[in-house]
Homo-oligomer: 406 residues x 2
């Protein structure tokens, strides 16, 4: 099985790249910290006999040959980028779980038929460059490369510029890389497994999600001299529209969620009635129809507020990731692995997006979840137990070996 | 009288320091652009025979001697700093109007009994360093110097550090500078004079204003996996509390205003339920009692929302500037000057804060308003006519000469 100590030690090691004072990680995609952890990835995988290369989007592949090296590889992966105030597990254990599989194979001398590849997908979080899963999206031909390269962060730095700045790209064209199967181990990032005391989530798919950018334009004016009746206050309109995101999601209970995560106010000065507000919206539901219904309700509310506050409101949908259903055969193999190892397990739909959601379009794909404390993620206090992470990696190892025999 | 062409030309010249693409000015207090306009001020006033020095807060005084130089000076001034997206008139015409008076005296060879001083107050806007009128506040002993020096901008740069970085401070201790009288010419920044077709506002005082900083702390979590019922969403609580600022001000009609001008969301990532929101509140009313009532209503609303959203809400009042009443004698002299020059005039209470509000505590003080287009200020499109600005400067000249004879 997996070397649980070595896996835990890798978690602590990678947590040093971009470590925050509060015990979390700030390792934005294609930042200097990302460069450091990418170098660690190359060194570590090379030590297990892998050869590592990157593609044109900076996606890293660490490959150990199979006994039949003409077969496409079985890939295991996730991402090493984090949120601005992220934790030590989100994404990371998917890559380190893959490395744990490499280590187990290396130390037991066991050979697989297929080549095995550990994959580090670039910019999964979507926090620096929106949308999330940008490069697995290119890999799966959902986005073209020009689109991805043109995405810019909030400082206006383009993806391709950032990629060059840490010299992360390789020669292989992104997407020209067939896979026999893809597995991703991840923390659940939600409360269900912990509440039900299950160790393994057999992930059957990912819920539907859409992202929007909203720009409200009113008119800057003086906070002390502009009568309330003469204002075109972009922020006051925004407060109503942002609060509707919560109301709209609650209206689609029990599963729908709606979030405003990012807000920018201009000119952002204490004594200026704001002339412009930019904010983002994230709507999700396991049923795509509910996501559409939330969007419609949101657009209606915006139209009303635009009239009421005499401001213009522009809404652009920048991402539509419909609900995903994973490969039935691989889902079953995860269930079998959990059962044979005696881990309490249940089927689960992912609330978070994952690179697996896009890879599923071009290869048989599934995921394995393990619990995290309080269901908390995208938080520096994100935490998972050594035992649960090791359990997930052991299920991963079994499922990979089963897939190799097919 | 005043040289209207020269005054207008000074407006266009100073507008170049920090000029924005949209025809406005970005010249934050103690920035490099502020340094440039300060140098211009020294050069220009020196050419009219003034000697210029700065005090410990960087307040600049350009002095021409009086025939009785033992008398305290009559001061004329305002500020040269601007909002991040400010206009060419707010503050600036108060300083340039003073320079226009200097020029008129210089060119006619007329001597005053009192020395005349043109003053450029540091950091009036309060946009870089809160609160507004920080240094006239030190001058009037409302704030002590240590307090002012410790104020930091949103990047954490302290006032004293910024002052040193452009070498703006002089040896004179701020406040050790008696004045015989103080006059400030300014655009109204509101709609009244224009609507009533008056050229001169005889400013009788300034309304009461208070500033608050609000920090809402919830818990960061994942936007896709955290059920609506398990969120401690600092931003959703903030949207309700920010919208109450408008409702509370409307409840105190007709004169009250309430504004949220600055908002910061943390971690400000599209797929993270915000864990912290910082925002500012500005409440104003000509009656101090109404400002207090608005604060009380706001605190009540915060307490309710704190329970409802399970977030903590900290409110600190960082500024209390009660309503100010200017010197009756000087107010009358402005009325007389306007009448004798045949400018339609009316009494008016300032909705904006001005350095005059603090100087009024230590010297007989008044202000002169001229209209601005649409009442618009704190906006790059801020505009006033050459004729109105010249009219204001001519009223200023007469009122100053009358004060000199007293
Ligand atoms: N796993 C994860 O947190 N991915 C980020 C994309 C999302 O917002 O769901
Ligand atoms: N005149 C002016 O805009 N001053 C800024 C202080 C205020 O907010 O009123």
């Amino acid at each position: 099985g997996i070397d649980a100590d070595a896996l835990w030690s890798d978690i602590l090691t990678t947590a040093q790249y971009g470590a925050t004072a509060k015990g979390g990680i700030r390792r934005l995609a294609l930042s200097e910290e990302d460069r450091q952890v990418r170098d660690w990835f190359v060194r570590t995988c090379t030590a297990f006999g892998a050869t590592v290369h990157a593609d044109s989007m900076g996606i890293q592949f660490a490959r150990v040959p199979g006994t039949d090296d003409s077969l496409p590889p079985i890939a295991i992966g996730s991402h090493l980028d984090t949120q601005p105030t992220g934790g030590k597990f989100d994404g990371i254990i998917g890559v380190l779980g893959g490395i744990a599989v490499l280590r187990a194979l290396h130390e037991t001398g066991r050979k697989t038929r297929h080549p095995i590849e550990i994959v580090n997908w670039t910019n999964e979080e979507g926090s620096r460059f929106a949308p999330a899963m940008l490069c697995s999206g290119v890999f799966a031909k959902v986005f073209d490369e020009d689109y991805a390269n043109s995405r810019a962060d909030r400082d206006g730095i383009r993806f391709d510029t950032a990629l060059r700045s840490i010299d992360a790209a390789g020669k292989e064209k992104c997407g020209e890389h067939p896979l026999a199967a893809y597995f991703e181990l991840h923390i659940e990032q939600g409360p269900i497994l912990e509440a039900e005391e299950r160790v393994i989530g057999i992930v059957t798919g990912v819920q539907g999600m859409r992202w929007y950018e909203v720009t409200i334009s009113g008119r800057d004016s003086h906070a002390g001299t502009t009568p309330m009746s003469m204002r075109n206050d972009a922020l006051q309109a925004a407060t109503r529209l942002m609060s509707s995101v919560q109301d709209i999601a609650l209206n689609r209970a029990p599963n729908a969620v709606g979030t405003v995560g990012l807000v920018e106010v201009r000119p952002n000065s204490r004594n200026v009635v704001p002339g412009e507000v930019f904010f983002t919206v994230d709507f999700r539901d396991p049923q795509d129809g509910n996501v559409v219904a939330m969007e419609n309700a949101f657009r209606d509310r915006a139209a009303t507020l635009s009239r009421e506050f005499d401001v213009s409101i522009g809404i652009s949908e920048i991402w539509d990731s419909p609900a995903v259903h994973f490969d039935g055969g691989l889902v079953d193999s995860v269930a079998r692995a959990a059962r044979s190892l005696n881990f309490p397990a249940r089927e689960i739909v992912s609330g978070a997006g994952h690179d697996a959601a896009y890879v599923a379009r071009v290869a048989p794909t599934t995921m394995i979840f393990v619990p995290c404390a309080g269901g908390l993620s995208h938080n520096e206090a994100e935490s998972a137990s050594r035992e649960d992470v090791a359990a997930g990696a052991n299920v991963l190892l079994r499922a990979v070996l089963e897939a190799d025999e097919r």
